[in-house]
């Protein structure tokens, strides 16, 4: 625990952004190089998170605690556990790829690169923050860079998409802000420290519960809303297709690869542990919404003509699986959920890169503009097929492990949702393969497509690491699951115990109340008497 690795991960990108911003405007190439080097350096610094992570340990690791504003109960506390460590590394890995994928950007390169690097710090910060307010700061700090990335370097309707993204997110987040402060006072802990708050909100013995049932519901709702917008859970997903379609390639990669995970991660890290009883109460609703997301997202995919929109809706479906796996409190399902978050980052990131490759050549993403690409770009076709299969969840690729674990785990606990969700797998195969078929196979239907060049060195550099990971996770999932499993087991044990405990407590309170007023029949109307 010697070197402050996590703080370094937060500082290096911002420092790089400052450096990039100070370069003269003419030096676009240098700005790209500086950004690439910063992103690579960040990735290198993050490697010890993988090598020095102790897989058997369920607790927070690499923890750093410093006073921030003691008078307000704010601490700078960061750490990673099995839930977040893979996500942090995913972020640092995707960032150099994004910079490389943006090499063709010519407009305002400096600002573009600076926005990406600031975004990286904010994303890593959100994953590692162990103080609620610190988390909120990073969470909101992501907004402006992402707004600019979509709105400045995006497609034709970029302003609309950027505003929609921003407003959806901020409307979702501000109730959470109120809830965070409310918890500070009502929990009695007078701190924003996550672990302390969790303990205070879920007292072990017979101490009174600090929140009333309705207050806990409101708070859970506020947290869940913020995260549900980000995931996005149906029916709050409408910003996502717009944002994805309009964002530049690298923006889509980071949006799908990391930003959406903020939502699922937030549910897992904050909404559920802070209010386990309420989460259990709302679990049926969340499960239903997740399953609707899976099926609805998949059906929407079948109807899309724009490749990016198709992949965007497939994200809704895939993240529906993640949410499903979280609310059944089964170890397998939750491990699958966490792995699926990483998998989705890899596969969907790669898919967006593939779309970007075509878009750079043809400036269109419509399925009907392609066909027979396999003949002119054989290597590209091979890559796209691999990525497609991974997204479908073919055994041997990463996607299989995640979805399979989620469905397996869910089926053990709740049969019906698992059955409905598995239709998503079938539909997923249909729409992804259909997309690949329409793009790659058949005759070359458009003359312009006859002379497209195959993958170039830079494009290989962006895709190859992801391809390696697709197979690595697919073939040796245990290397990854080992790091996740202890945390997951511990997490679920705690949550289940807390749910049971809270239910018993509430029941006891109700019985007590009924005994205290024996003369009056407890009805809905006269609880005030």
């Amino acid at each position: 625990m010697s070197a402050p690795i996590l703080s370094a991960l937060l500082v290096i990108p911002v420092a790089g952004a400052a450096l990039v911003a100070l370069l003269p405007r003419e030096n676009a190439r240098e700005a790209k190089l500086a950004a690439l080097l910063t992103a690579l350096l960040t990735f290198l610094v993050s490697i010890p998170l993988w090598t020095q992570f102790r897989p058997g340990n369920a607790a927070m690791q690499f923890v750093e605690t410093r006073a921030w504003v003691p008078a307000l109960g704010l601490t700078y506390k960061v750490g990673v556990d099995g839930i977040s460590v893979l996500l942090v590394i995913l972020t640092t890995l995707l960032m150099p790829i994004c910079v490389l994928a943006s090499w063709s950007i010519t407009d305002r390169v400096k600002e573009y690169m600076a926005a990406f690097l600031i975004l990286e710090s904010a994303m890593i910060g959100s994953f590692v923050a162990q103080d609620l307010l610190l988390f909120y700061v990073f969470w909101e700090a992501m907004l402006i860079p992402m707004l600019l990335i979509i709105g400045v370097w995006g497609g034709r309707r970029r302003v609309y998409a950027a505003l929609k993204f921003f407003l959806f997110t901020i409307v979702g987040s501000l109730p959470m802000f109120v809830a965070i402060i409310y918890l500070y006072f009502k929990s009695g802990a007078q701190t924003f420290d996550l672990e302390t708050l969790r303990a205070a909100l879920n007292p072990a013995g017979n101490e009174p519960l600090p929140l009333t049932v309705s207050a806990a519901r409101w708070c859970f709702f506020a947290f869940a809303l913020a995260f549900a917008v980000k995931v996005p859970i149906w029916p709050l997903h409408t910003w996502l297709p717009d944002a994805h379609v309009e964002a530049p390639t690298a923006g889509s990669v980071i949006l799908a690869g990391v930003l959406l995970k903020m939502g699922t991660y937030g549910l897992l890290r904050f909404a559920i542990p802070l209010f386990p009883g309420t989460a259990a109460e709302f679990a049926p609703i969340m499960i239903v919404l997740a399953v609707i997301g899976v099926i609805y997202g998949s059906l929407m995919c079948l109807a899309q003509e724009d490749m990016k929109k198709l992949i965007a809706y497939s994200s809704v479906a895939h993240l529906g699986f993640c949410v499903l796996g979280m609310f059944v409190w089964n170890d397998k399902a939750l491990s699958g959920s966490i792995l699926q978050m990483v998998n989705h980052g890899i596969s969907t990131g790669a898919l967006f890169l593939c779309v970007g490759v075509l878009y750079e050549r043809r400036h269109t993403r419509l399925l009907e503009d392609f066909g027979g690409i396999a003949k002119v770009m054989p290597w590209y076709a091979a890559v796209l097929i691999i990525v497609t299969l991974s997204s479908i969840g073919l055994p041997g690729t990463n996607g299989f492990i995640g979805e399979f674990l989620i469905l397996l785990g869910t089926f053990q606990v709740k049969k019906l949702p698992a059955i409905f969700a598995s239709t998503g797998v079938v539909l997923g195969a249909a729409y992804m393969l259909w997309m690949a078929q329409r793009v790659l196979f058949g005759r070359v239907t458009h003359e312009e497509n006859e002379h497209l060049g195959d993958l170039r060195g830079r494009e290989w550099a962006t895709l190859l690491p992801l391809l390696v990971l697709i197979f690595a996770i697919g073939v040796a999932p245990n290397v990854f699951l080992n790091r996740v499993a202890p945390t997951v087991e511990n997490y679920n044990r705690q949550i289940r115990a807390a749910i049971r405990h809270e239910n018993e407590r509430r029941e006891a309170e109700n019985r007590h109340r009924a005994l205290m007023t024996p003369l009056e029949a407890p009805g809905p109307g006269d609880s005030r008497k």
Partner: protein, 498 residues
């Protein structure tokens, strides 16, 4: 009452500002010999000197002029905020006034006089000095608003501002008269026998001895609050704000937004703690309602604005609402008053910055006012657009900025109290609304193409505005990331009043 060296020493910040104002005005008379370009330096020097003398008074907690003024932490912190607003505005003004032909000594003289009024207002310990401070400050600001005589809008704004302001001063004065009556006719005179001076009858702590149910006290307090509400632009006394903000030259707008708020809120806080400790009990509900209305009206009206200065005027009404929330809550919770101080400081910095940007981009023909005129700024002047984005994020309360920390501090206190939870939720909802219109500016700067033939003036010869914007940007981020020190000062300042 004798005038001693002690009094003068405590009064020195105001004296320095007034003296510099006199120097600036007279220096201009010899402008044949002295270059007018020296005026901003003179003014800056005076402001910095006043700030230093304020700093030297930190921790003194003494009264001057027989208790008419009290130099304590509150006076120092809010005085410094006023000086900061002044210094930033002088920096932003330097090139602006030269290009618009108003770079005469009176401009700086009036600015420094207004600052002197605000500093004095922050020290005011009896109602007479409150009145004097407000008047010194206001009259100078009226003149500044109309200083571009040949611009119709400016003259109109000054006229409106003056008439409305004069009315509000009337309310204020009448309120003070009633309060005086309340002190004289009830038990407030007890202590007077020991120190029989006129001033002590109007002392703020004398008012605290008046029984809370005295009708005169209630009437006087109501009028007093109306007068103060006018000055800070609280609903329903906000109608002058958009016109005055739009008509005044941009650096003046930034100046008056910050300085007037620093002065008046300091006086309000002091009278709320010292003179009307029962304010929350008697008036809490009404004030809370006004605060909520101010936040909602300000932010909702801002949505419809296309003129940036009018938009920022309505946004300032919204911010006044947030500060009022702090004042309402301050009667109940301990740290809310410190939160108000922090918010005022944050507001001064970010407002000075956003109006500074308008000043920076002003040309000889006038200012860029319509939001659409800022289209494409980011591709021509990336640093300016980045700074403006920062200020907009801060005004909208997006971390890690001063504005976020300020909102966090104030709403934190409101949420703590169950009865004010609704106020916090209203405020947060209003913030969501505000995010949209601040965003419009960012969208225009970054995502729209510049209008044909639109050229943004170069920044090279505008070192003052560039420096001012840089300082404001740094302060905005610093207050957002490491607020601990400033917050400590604010807390100490409030402690020293009690």
């Amino acid at each position: 009452m004798t005038l001693g060296a002690h009094d003068l020493q405590l009064f020195s910040p105001v004296l320095i500002l007034l003296g510099t104002a006199a120097v600036a005005v007279t220096a201009d008379l010899y402008s044949g010999k002295i270059e007018r370009g020296a005026l901003p330096f003179i003014s800056l020097g005076g402001t910095v000197a006043a700030a230093i003398s304020l700093l030297s008074l930190w921790g003194r907690n003494e009264e001057a002029f027989g208790g008419a003024l009290r130099i304590d932490g509150l006076a120092v912190v809010m005085g410094l905020a006023a000086c900061a607003a002044t210094a930033l505005s002088v920096l932003m003004s330097a090139s602006y006034v030269r290009s618009s032909g108003i770079d005469f000594g009176e401009y700086y003289g009036l600015m420094l006089t207004a600052a002197a009024g605000a500093v004095m207002l922050a020290q005011a310990n009896d109602l007479m000095s409150v009145f004097l401070g407000i008047e010194i400050m206001s009259i100078a600001v009226y003149c500044l608003t109309g200083i571009t005589r040949d611009r119709e809008k400016s003259t109109e704004a000054a006229m409106k501002y003056f008439i409305m302001g004069a009315f509000s001063t009337g309310f204020l004065l009448f309120g003070i008269a009633l309060l005086y009556g309340a002190v004289v006719t009830t038990g407030g005179t007890e202590g007077i026998l020991q120190s029989p001076s006129q001033s002590s009858l109007l002392r703020l702590d004398a008012l605290a001895r008046v029984p809370a149910n005295t009708p005169l006290l209630a009437a006087g307090l109501a009028l007093f609050l109306v007068g103060a509400a006018f000055k800070v632009g609280a609903v329903p006394f906000h109608a002058w704000t958009p016109d005055a903000y739009e008509g005044a030259p941009a650096p003046v707008t930034g100046f008056m937004a910050g300085v007037v708020k620093a002065g008046v809120f300091a006086a309000l806080l002091r009278s709320a703690t010292v003179a009307f400790p029962h304010l929350g009990l008697e008036w809490g509900g009404a004030l809370a309602f006004l605060a909520a209305a101010t936040m909602v009206v300000g932010n909702v009206c801002a949505l419809a604005q296309t003129n940036l200065k009018r938009l920022l005027a309505y946004s300032s009404i919204g911010h006044t609402g947030v500060i009022l929330v702090g004042i309402v809550v301050a009667s109940e919770t301990e740290h809310a008053a410190a939160a108000v101080l922090f918010y005022v400081i944050a507001y001064v910095v970010m407002t000075a910055g956003s109006f500074g940007l308008i000043s920076l981009l002003a040309r000889e023909g006038g200012e860029l006012e319509d939001i659409s005129q800022f289209s494409g700024l980011a591709s021509r002047r990336p640093a300016a657009a980045a700074a403006m984005t920062l200020f907009m994020a801060s005004l909208a309360g997006i971390p890690p900025t001063a504005g976020f920390m300020g909102k966090f501090l104030i709403f934190r206190e409101a949420i703590q109290n169950r009865e004010f939870l609704w106020l916090a939720i209203t405020g947060i909802a209003a913030s969501v609304v505000s995010a949209y219109y601040y965003l419009k500016i960012v969208v225009a700067m970054y995502m729209r193409d510049p209008a044909k033939g639109e050229e943004f003036p170069k920044g090279e010869d505008r070192w003052g505005a560039v420096l001012g914007l840089g300082l404001a940007s740094i302060a905005t981020i610093a207050l957002g990331i490491c607020p601990a020190k400033v917050l400590e000062w604010c807390n100490a300042a409030i402690q020293s009043v009690r």
